[in-house]
Amino acid sequence: MSWKRIKIGKEEFEIPAGYYYLIVFGILLVIVGITIFMSFYTVDANEVGVVLRFGKFQKITYPGLHLKLPWGIDKVYTVKVDYQYKEEFGFRTVRPGVKTQYNVGSYTSESWMLTGDLNIADVKWVVQYKIKDAFKFLFRVRNVSESIRDVAEAAMRLVVGDRSFHEVLQSDRIEIANLVRDYMQKTLDLYDAGIDVQLVQLKDVHPPDPVRDSFNEVNRAKQEQERMVNEAMQVYNREIYRVEGEADRLIREAEGYRINRINRAKGEAALFNAVFNEYLKAKEVTKKRLYLETIEDILSKVKRKYIIDKDLQNVLPLLNLQSKERVK
C-alpha cells in the first residue's frame, strides 16, 4: 500500500495512493460533466437561438435541443420571435385578465397632444409588434424597446398634428392607426431594428380632463336639440292628424247638408205638387179652406185679441198695448 502526501495550506495529509487517483478522476469527471452540460442548450417553441462563435454570428437555430461549443466559445441568445409584444401609451395595464385593470392615472404627458387646429386631445393607444429578424433585433440597435416607444410617440403626434380635433376624436381613428403603423414600420426599418409592427390601435380618444365637462355639455345640448325637435315633431304630427280629422268632419258635414237640403227640397216640391194638383181641381174652396185653417191656427195661438168697430175713432189711448208680463 503506497501513500501519497498532499499539502493543503500548511497541513499535510497522507492518503492512500488509490484514493489520490480516485480524487483526480473525480475532478476530471466533474470537469467533463460540466463541459457536456455546457454543450447543450434548448430553444423553446416560440423562440429562435442566435449562435455567436467567438463573438461572431454563426447561425440561427430553431426549437429543440442543440449542441454548442462550451466554455464561452459559443454564445447563444434566445429570442422570442413568435411572441406578440405590446407597448401601451397613455395608460398601463396593472393586472391583465378577464376584467383587466388599467392605471390611467397620470400619463397625460404621453397622451395629451396637439391637434392640427391647435387643440389638445387625449389619445391612448397600443402598439403590438413581433421580432421579425432576431439577429438585427439583438445586434443592430441598442435599447430597441425605447426606440419603439420613441418612434411610436413621434409617429402618433405627427399624424394627430395634421388632423383636426374633430377628425382625431371621431372620423379618422382607423386611418390614424394605419398611418402610425406605416410610419413606425418605415422608421424602424431605417434603424434596421428587425421589428415588425403588427398593429397600432387607438384605445381611448377624448378631450383632456380639464375640458371634458364642456364637451359633455355640448353632447347634452345636442341631445336637447334633438329632443326639442322630436317634441315639436310629435306636437306637429298630433296636431296635423287632428286637423286632418277636423277637415274631414267639415267636408262630411257639408255632404250631410247637401243630402239634407236636396231631400228636403225634393220632399217639399213633392208636397207642393201634390197640394197644387188638388188645388187645381177645386181652386176657390181649397184656397178658402187653407186661408181659414191658417187664420184659425193663428188666432187660437194669439192670447189677446181686440175687435174694434171700424167707425170707432181714437181707440189707441184706451189700450194698454204692453203685455202684462212687461208691466210687472
Partner: protein
C-alpha cells in the same frame, strides 16, 4: 520530478497570459481600435470575431457598433409667431469612425454631451424661424372641422382661420435640423453619424396650455348654446309649419265644404223652382201658401191682435147686425 511539474505549470500560465494579452474577441455589437502607448495604430476593427494585437504594449478600446439613442431634454422655445412651446426631440446615431471618435471625444458620455450642444442649438435655430402651425402640422391637407365649430371660432376670433390654414412642415423641419446637424458633424469630424431625428412631443408650456383649455371650454360652451338655439329655432320652425299646414288643411276643407253646400243650395233651388215655377197658376198658389205659412210663423202667444170689424174674416159678425 516535482520541479518539472512546477516549471511546466509556470510555462503554461505564461503562455495563457500571453495569449490572453494578444487575443481579443469582438462580438456583433462591438467595434474597436488598437492603441500603442495611447496612440491609435492601424485602422478600425469592425468585424466580430477573434483578433490579435501585440501583447502589453497595445491596448484595445472597444466601442458600440449599434444604433445609439439620444434623448434630448425638452426645451422651451418661442416660435416665430411668439408662442412658447415645449419641444422634446430624440435622435438615433452611431459611431461610424471609431478612430475619429476616439481622437475627438473618447467616450460615449462625452459624445452625448457634444450631441446635446449641437442638436439643441440646431433645433432652437430652426424652431425659432417657424410658426407654430408649421411645426405642429405636416402638410396642407384640408382638415374637417364641423361647421358649428368654425362659426364659433370665427365669431369669437380665438384663432384666425388663416393661421390654421398655414401648411405644415413638421417632417421637413425635422429633416432640415437633421441635415444641419449632419453638416456640423462632418465639419467637426467626431466620427459620428446621426441617422434620424424626430420630434417626440410638441406641447404648449403649462401656462399657455391652461389658456388653451380655457379657450376650448369657452368654445364648447358657445357650441352648446348654439345647439340649444338651433333646437329652439327648429322647434319654432316646426310649430310654424304646423300652423301653416293646419290652416292649409282647414281652409281647403272649408272651401270644399262651401262648394258642396253651394252645389246643394243650387240643386235645391232648381228643384224648388221646377216645382213652383211650372205655370202662372202654380206661382200664384205658391205665393199664397207661402204667405199663409209666414203668417203662422210670425204670430205667436205674445202677439196682441186688433181686428177691425170690416175685416174679411169678421164680415159675418157685421152681417148679423
Amino acid at each position: 520530478m516535482k520541479g518539472k511539474v512546477i516549471a511546466s505549470l509556470i510555462i503554461m500560465a505564461v503562455v495563457i497570459f500571453l495569449l490572453a494579452e494578444s487575443i481579443f474577441i469582438l462580438d456583433e455589437t462591438q467595434q474597436a481600435i488598437i492603441t500603442q502607448f495611447g496612440k491609435p495604430v492601424g485602422g478600425a476593427i469592425r468585424n466580430a470575431g477573434v483578433h490579435f494585437k501585440m501583447p502589453f504594449i497595445q491596448k484595445v478600446i472597444v466601442f458600440d457598433k449599434r444604433l445609439l439613442e439620444w434623448d434630448g431634454e425638452p426645451q422651451e422655445i418661442p416660435t416665430k409667431d411668439n408662442k412658447f412651446i415645449k419641444i422634446d426631440t430624440f435622435a438615433r446615431w452611431r459611431i461610424i469612425d471609431p478612430l475619429a471618435f476616439y481622437k475627438s471625444v473618447r467616450t460615449e458620455a462625452v459624445a452625448q454631451s457634444r450631441l446635446d450642444d449641437i442638436l439643441d442649438g440646431t433645433i432652437r435655430d430652426e424652431i425659432a424661424n417657424r410658426a407654430l402651425q408649421e411645426i405642429v402640422r405636416n402638410s396642407d391637407r384640408p382638415m374637417v372641422i364641423p361647421e358649428i365649430e368654425q362659426e364659433v371660432k370665427s365669431e369669437a376670433d380665438t384663432l384666425s382661420w388663416r393661421e390654421v390654414m398655414i401648411p405644415g412642415a413638421r417632417e421637413e423641419i425635422a429633416k432640415n435640423i437633421l441635415d444641419n446637424v449632419k453638416k456640423k458633424l462632418e465639419e467637426l469630424k467626431l466620427g459620428i453619424e446621426v441617422v434620424d431625428l424626430k420630434f417626440k412631443r410638441i406641447d404648449y408650456n403649462p401656462k399657455v396650455q391652461e389658456k388653451v383649455f380655457e379657450r376650448m371650454i369657452s368654445e364648447q360652451k358657445r357650441i352648446a348654446e348654439k345647439y340649444r338655439a338651433i333646437g329652439q329655432g327648429e322647434k319654432q320652425r316646426i310649430l310654424g309649419k304646423q300652423d301653416q299646414k293646419k290652416k292649409e288643411i282647414l281652409s281647403e276643407a272649408y272651401r270644399k265644404a262651401q262648394e258642396i253646400r253651394g252645389q246643394a243650395d243650387a240643386e235645391a233651388t232648381k228643384i224648388y223652382a221646377e216645382a213652383y215655377n211650372k205655370s202662372p197658376e202654380s206661382r200664384k198658389f205658391y205665393e199664397f201658401i207661402k204667405t199663409l205659412e209666414t203668417y203662422k210663423a210670425i204670430f205667436d202667444t205674445s202677439t196682441t191682435m186688433i181686428l177691425s170689424t170690416d175685416n174679411e174674416l169678421l164680415k159675418y159678425i157685421k152681417a148679423t147686425k
